[in-house]
Symmetry: C2
Subunit: 197 residues, 2 copies
């Protein structure tokens, strides 16, 4: 399979991590995250949204949206529950991730990594939104080892993607003991790779 | 099943529409969308994110996130494909909806419906983000009757939720002929109910 990838992107990292743990080899093609001018030419025929990751199956069929890609890869493995209620919980956490975590933690991190100046109002909006998301994640993890089904699943991979690099967007995880313990538990899983690997 | 609902919310409407088309009766409990002070007391033990919809199964187990709820309800019905690649496409469109459509179309509509003053910069951000999302949806619908699998699925329900009331957030659908034709097709489905029903 061919992954259109950006090394720095937490969304792309989710796919690389899932594939590594499922021992699925990936060919990577790197796209720039700042200069996006080539995207319509390179991935415009593969995805309507012009974002990475895009994963192309060996038969040429393309897939977009990181969480939908990893759920496809994980189907039938220990990373995806079979029980309908547990599957609903996996999806609920993944939708939450794209709604409250990624738009705040990833964007704040992007501003800082590339020395962009978002302006005071937008920066404050991302910081407040991110803390609200982290508050909800902390509530969801309280008393638990993993998000769903008492075991490591794609829900943990989805939420780990940007939460483990929260500090790069100036989010302080000190007030979130359940999140911090869970991050260590995820990083200790067999076959774990780092975002920089 | 008990649905914690807000009549005006497109996210709650997705659940009501899916349940109506699957002939699943719902008991509704209405929550205010502007005054959210009661939410921790009413739904705080049911969802970490304190948003509606929340659906409580007859055995008391709660579910959060609109798209994850409707996927649970639709499993095994004609609204949810069985083919793994088609299921990936359904999820991809639903994640796109929560990332690019809902945060812009729903929020702009909320500002207008409740006469809120978001400030020039935030209003412009929502308008530009919403048009970018609608552009992607138009690309995805070009040449197609439905988003996935050449038939009506939960992907269409998810995207219909806020797109069909785009005008209430001052989005003009005139430049989007594929979206407009698809909206009419979705509204003509058997068992369709309106957001105001």
């Amino acid at each position: 399979m061919l992954l259109y990838n950006s090394a720095v992107s937490g969304n792309c990292y989710k796919v690389r991590l899932t594939a590594a743990q499922l021992q699925i080899p990936l060919e990577l093609q790197e796209l720039d995250v700042v200069d996006r001018s080539q995207r319509p030419a390179v991935i415009g025929s593969l995805t309507p949204v012009l974002r990475v990751p895009v994963l192309v199956l060996d038969d040429g069929r393309p897939m977009f949206e990181s969480n939908a890609i990893i759920d496809y890869l994980a189907e039938g493995s220990a990373l995806m529950p079979e029980d309908p209620y547990e599957r609903q919980q996996v999806l609920a956490w993944q939708f939450f991730e794209q709604y409250e975590i990624e738009p705040n933690l990833a964007v704040a991190r992007f501003f800082r990594l590339f020395d962009l100046e978002p302006g005071e109002s937008l920066w404050r909006q991302k910081q407040e939104g991110g803390r609200k998301g982290l508050d909800a994640l902390e509530r969801g993890l309280r008393g638990k080892e993993y998000l769903v089904a008492d075991r490591y699943t794609v829900a943990d991979i989805s939420l780990y993607g940007y939460t483990h690099v929260a500090a790069e967007g100036e989010f302080d995880l000190e007030p979130y003991p359940w999140i911090r313990a869970w991050l260590e538990r995820v990083a200790a899983q067999p076959g774990h790779i780092r975002i920089t690997d």
